[in-house]
Each structure stands twice: as structure tokens, then as C-alpha cells.
Symmetry: C2
Subunit: 408 residues, 2 copies
């Protein structure tokens, strides 16, 4: 019998009527003869509300306690969905992360799944039941509850699909799939019918948001992930091992345009150009848990260099604190900040093997009067850091310039 | 080291400020050098709100699913209390019913505890931690979540106190203890400093409400239970094996006045007086889950009898349905109902061994113009079924007539 894992996000189960609608959807799949395991997020803004509640009793809520608190959101939604299914005459059972065998490490707040013991789910499926699993949560070896981080229900769903050898994992959300660019910025953005895992990771800003770890997990275990709308009956996007492998030569190379706002650039000026300087600078940042993205070093005259790097804007105060501490150690002159930047990227499998994409991108931006601050590339992505106020224009120009509005 | 179990009801943890106040109380006990295990109910009206929520998706919510849903209420309050304690610098940890080792049968909605595996709690106490346990919930052998029924957190607390051999179980609530009568009816009702388990069971209507099973459990395991106010710093009531055993001869026999409203009397008239009739009548009622309290049979003339019994008013329609079915079988003439009755009781250990209490009770009621419909007695209680509209007056007259306003 076919086995599918469905996942419904918070907006899809935001109220009783929506939960009943989801139950109807699952019922139809069951009626078609398939086994269904459904993973749900907490209803609407429950998680945010619970975080606020925690802050009413504690300035800095204990991470272990916070995880138990947050896990209740998904317990509520999964029991309600199971009740609604039973009310429609389907035999359904809800399982907590613990009951579903989601085993994690002890990193409260962003625990990583180290294994799935699918025994209980398999037993319930064998009894002919629809299984509804609380997303976002797991249990440690010491039987303490953990959560997987914001968006973690996607990862729950893909992990279960992998463990159960499901035919595929279907993620239902409030958008119809993955687009060639963010449709709020580029109205003519085209919905992609399929995309590779790596491209999906880069196109996180274009349409459906997915927990990046769910995509990585899907890639490792080769789980086809279908992303579509809960509310509109329209074809979605299939994320799979995909076209990049077998169709590479005869498809267009740029799949979509991604962007990220709220980026800040920190530049340390007048750094003596000697070994160990970069380590002295970035080690304390790593220890402080600050994620550094692009790093560029421009060697100038007189054995002095400037080191620039980007961080999330919200990390600037903490990053500056750390950098100020090491300035005298590394003998640098000063540190300056530009807090109003963004990145814009062209994404596509095999781009690095084909010349001309980078120069075409730079030309399009230059013709639009957009100055490039920094450039980085990966195997499937070329990114430019630009002024934040120009990012929407840049996305539009690149979408147009690479003819993404046309069917390939 | 001294070990106490504290229990706080829903009104004691109704909001953030109240939770912080409870944390301060527990902190003070800790500072005095005691180990504390705290059991909490869900905040305020959470349980009712969750039941309403369940009914938005299902007309008759599945009992198993409903129990998981309801159990989240106590998970929320126990994590918030643990966070508040940590915020004050105490090492605290919350445990779900499952983690606390509360093992129950599978009677969802009113599961019974069949054992407590206190290993995890003991481990946490040995680490010097304050332990906060989610009340009202347990786990079955198949690791499914159950709830113990309304008020079940009391039973969680007493069960833990028994399993941990705690010095005592302290139940904090919104009233100051157990009174000689309901203080809302008898303003001069006196707070009792101590009371026996059996008397407490009978005096459930007088002051602090306790889950009856918690009292029974306390009696079996000889757990002293101290009931006092969360909000007022005043002495409460100690429920223990108590005075009835060792002081019986030199204490007043009537401890308090209890009452129960919303009682209905069902009378089956013209029942042939032959063996098996009562069984034919009450077996179907038991099978329908209808709790029958007092039963009285008045044999009349010509081998015909009337059988009267009382049920909760809300059970009348279902009870009549069952009785109507057996009327032709037992050959009875008709069934009549009086739905507006109440019971009033005098409660006291050893009453049955001392003559005169019953007659004094009947005299007091008669002098007040109160007619008695039915009479029942137990070892420590004499109850009269009277018109509901007279019950408040009856409680007042009996409290006065037995001089309960005076110190014994």
C-alpha cells in the first residue's frame, strides 16, 4: 500500500474550521487507498504566544523548561486533528514526538534528530489507523522533551518519511510552492514544478519557506518532498534529486532569484597582513555564537589589509563588542559598520561549470545603477551584497534579465 | 532531610504573578532546609477551555485524544513554575506525569493510578533540585497519556507523597481549610484544625474541595494531608489518621454538617414483593453507569411495595429510560420523580456507637418545619433527604443545634 507523510503548518491548522478541512483532505487520501502519517505544527501563533507567556514568569526562560512548554502547542493541534478525523469516522491516533520515536540530542531549542524509532507508528499503521504526529519535538535519551527549532515540523515530517520509507513527503502550507523569485516582489515569478535539493536550499526566500534541515535530510535520504498549498487546489513543487543530475545539459541554468535582507557588513581597517590575524578575529565571534556569512579580505599597500564580513543585522552589537576586544590584539586601526545591506543571488545547478553567468549578473545590476559591495559564489549560486534599499529592484531586474518569466 | 509534597490548584497558579508568588512560597520552604516536590493543576480555567476547544472539532471528542489535550494544561503550568523558580536562583526541574512515573490504567478521563515509579524524582531530589510535577496526568503501560479526572492533581500529590515517604502532603487552595459547615451558608462555621480521613470524605462540601480518591489514598498509605490557603497566612486543616482513633471518648462526636444539592428521588410504585425485583431494577442502572445513592423500600399492603432511590439530578432522564424498560418485566405500576431534593448530613467519628444523635437531628429539623423524605446512615454519618429549597436552612439549624460554632 502507498504510504505518504503529510505536513501541515501553523496557518493550515490555525482554527477549528481549518483543522476540519485538513481532516477532510487526509480523509480523501485515505479513501484513495493510501496510508497517511500527518505531521502538524502548532495552531497559528501558538508558539509565539507560549514564548511570551514564558517571559511573564522569567526574564530568561530555562531552555529545557521552554521546550516542554513549546511542545504543548503541537500536542494540542495533533490531538484536535485526530479528534476531527475520528468525528468523520476514520480511525486515527495522535502521537507526541516521544511516542512517535523522534530521538534527539540535548540541544534544547534546536535539537537535532539522531534517530527515529518508528515501531509505534508502524504498529498503528498496521492496525489500519491514520497517524497524526506532533511536529517540532523529540525526546532525549534521558526522556526529556526537546524542540527542533522554528520550522522544525518540516524536519519531523522528512525524518519520518525517511524512517518509514514513505513514497513521499507532502508539505502543505499557505503558498503554492517554490517560485523563480519571491512573488511579492516579482509578480510574473513562475512556480517551479520541480527543483533540486541544493537549489531549494538557496531559494529559501522564493515562496514556500522550508526548514533548511528538512531539505538537507531529504537530500541525504532521497525523500521526494512535494510542497503545495493547503487552501488552493493547484500543482505544487516537487523537491527531489532532480533535474540537475540528469537533465543538466538541456535546461536553463538559472532556476531562480533569491535574496536576503537585514544584512550588515563589518569592516576591520588597517589590519597587519600576517598569519593568524583572521583566526584571532573570527574565533571569538564563533565562540559568541555569531554566524558570519561572507568574508572578504582586500590586501592594500604597506602590508596592511581590510577584512570585511557580513552578519545578520541583529547580531551587530554583539559582533562589535567581540571585535572591539581583539582590535588591540591584532593591531588593527578601526572598525566600521554598514548595517543596511542585503544579498541577491542567482541560483541554478551547474552554473559554475558554465561561464558567463556571473558577468551577465554584474552587467544587469550595473545597468540598473546598483552598486555591488561584496561578491560570493558557491557551486549553484552567485550572490552580490548590495544596498538594502535596492534589493527589490535587483530581484526584478535579474528575474527579467535571465528571462525567468518564460517557460524553459 | 525533611521532604514535603506541595500541591497548588488552578486558582493558585491562574496567572504569571500568582505563579511567581507560588515560586516564592516554595523557595522559602527550600530555604528552611526541606526538599520539596510540587504538584500543580492547570492555570485557572484552562481545562474547561481545552474541553471547549475539543468540541469545536468533534461532537464527541475521543477520550484518548482528549486526555492528551487536557494534559497540556498542567505541562504549561509546571514548566512556568519551574522557570519562575530558576529565575529566583533555585535549581528546579519540571516533570510530566510520564516522567514522574505516574502509572495508570487505561480508563481515559478518570484513570486510576496503579503505581508510582519515583526513580526520576528521587534522582532529581538527590541532585538538590526542586521538582515540579504536572498533576492530573499519568501514562499507561503502552505509554499513552491519561488523566485522573477533575481534581485529580490532589490524587497525584498524595500518591507521590506516599511513594516518596514524604513527611506530609500540603494542599494549597483558595480556601483556608475544612470547616464545620459550608462558610457560605453558615457564617459562624468554625475551621477545623484536624479531621480524620473518613470524616473528611463526608465533609467534602464544607470548605476546601478535595478529590475523594486523594483522601482514600491518604487513608490507605497514612499520608498526613494539610489543607491551607495559598493566599492567606493562616493555619489550615490537618487531615490525618487522627482524633477519631485515640481521642474518641472525650471529644464532641459531631465534626461538621455536610450537604449535597441537585438530588432527585425516583419512586417505582406498586412493585410485587418477590425476590429478584430489586436486582432487575438496579442492574440496568448500573450497566448504564448511573450512580444510585440512597435506596429505600417500603413494604405496603397486599404484597406490594414502593422502591425509592436517589440519583444526581442530571442522571434523571437516563435513569427513567432504564426504569421504564423494566417496569413491565417486574410488573410495577408506575414511576414518579421528585427532582428538587438535597441531602443534609451530620458527620462525626463514632456517632454510631453513641445513641441519641439521630433523634436529636430529626428533632432539630422537625422544629424548623423541615420534612424528611428519606434517611440513610453510615458509620460516621447520618443523612436526611429533604426539599432542596430548605437545605441552607437545615445546614444552619443543625450547625447551631449541635453547637458547632463553639470550640469543643
Amino acid at each position: 500500500m502507498k504510504l505518504v507523510v503529510h505536513k501541515y503548518g501553523g496557518s493550515s491548522v490555525a482554527d477549528a474550521q481549518k483543522i476540519i478541512n485538513v481532516a477532510r483532505r487526509i480523509g480523501r487520501v485515505r479513501d484513495s487507498g493510501a496510508q497517511v502519517v500527518t505531521v502538524v505544527s502548532a495552531m497559528g501563533d501558538t508558539t509565539d504566544d507560549l514564548i511570551k507567556l514564558a517571559h511573564t514568569v522569567s526574564q530568561e526562560p530555562d531552555p529545557r523548561e521552554l521546550d516542554v512548554l513549546l511542545s504543548t502547542g503541537e500536542l494540542v493541534s495533533c490531538t484536535l486533528l485526530a479528534m476531527a478525523l475520528r468525528d468523520m469516522g476514520y480511525d486515527a491516533v495522535s502521537l507526541s514526538g516521544f511516542q512517535a520515536g523522534i530521538h534527539t540530542d540535548t540541544t534544547y531549542g534546536k535539537a537535532r534528530i539522531y534517530g527515529v524509532d518508528a515501531q509505534r507508528i508502524t504498529k498503528e499503521l498496521d492496525r489500519g489507523r491514520l497517524v497524526v504526529v506532533a511536529g517540532f519535538q523529540g525526546i532525549t535519551e534521558a526522556q526529556d522533551v526537546t524542540t527542533l527549532g522554528r520550522g522544525g515540523s518540516d524536519t519531523t515530517a522528512v525524518a519520518l518519511a525517511a524512517a518509514l520509507h514513505a513514497d513521499r513527503c507532502e508539505v502543505y502550507t499557505d503558498v503554492e510552492g517554490i517560485y523563480t523569485a519571491d512573488p511579492r516582489i516579482v509578480p510574473e515569478a513562475r512556480k517551479l514544478l520541480e527543483i533540486g535539493y541544493q537549489e531549494m536550499l538557496e531559494l529559501a526566500s522564493s515562496g514556500a519557506k522550508m526548514h533548511p534541515r528538512s531539505i538537507e535530510l531529504g537530500a541525504v535520504y532521497k525523500v521526494p518532498i512535494y510542497v503545495a498549498s493547503t487552501f488552493v487546489d493547484a500543482p505544487g513543487t516537487l523537491i527531489h534529486q532532480g533535474p540537475d543530475e540528469h537533465q543538466m545539459e538541456n535546461r536553463i541554468k538559472v532556476t531562480g532569484i533569491a535574496y536576503q535582507a537585514k544584512i550588515a557588513k563589518i569592516t576591520v581597517r588597517g589590519v597587519p597582513d600576517r598569519p593568524g590575524v583572521a583566526a584571532s578575529l573570527f574565533e571569538p565571534l564563533a565562540q559568541a555564537g555569531i554566524s558570519v556569512d561572507t568574508i572578504v579580505q582586500n590586501t592594500g599597500m604597506e602590508r596592511m589589509t581590510d577584512i570585511s564580513f557580513t552578519v545578520n543585522r541583529s547580531d551587530v552589537p554583539r559582533a562589535l563588542q567581540e571585535v572591539q576586544k581583539v582590535l588591540p590584539v591584532i593591531g588593527a586601526a578601526e572598525v566600521v559598520t554598514d548595517p543596511s545591506l542585503a544579498s541577491v543571488s542567482i541560483v541554478g545547478a551547474g552554473m559554475q561549470n558554465t561561464p558567463g553567468y556571473a558577468s551577465r549578473m554584474f552587467r544587469i545590476l550595473a545597468d540598473g545603477g546598483i552598486n555591488i559591495e561584496l561578491i560570493t559564489t558557491s557551486e549553484i549560486r552567485i550572490s552580490c551584497i548590495i544596498k538594502e534599499e535596492q534589493v527589490r529592484q535587483a530581484v526584478r531586474l535579474l528575474h527579467q534579465g535571465f528571462h525567468l518569466d518564460r517557460e524553459p
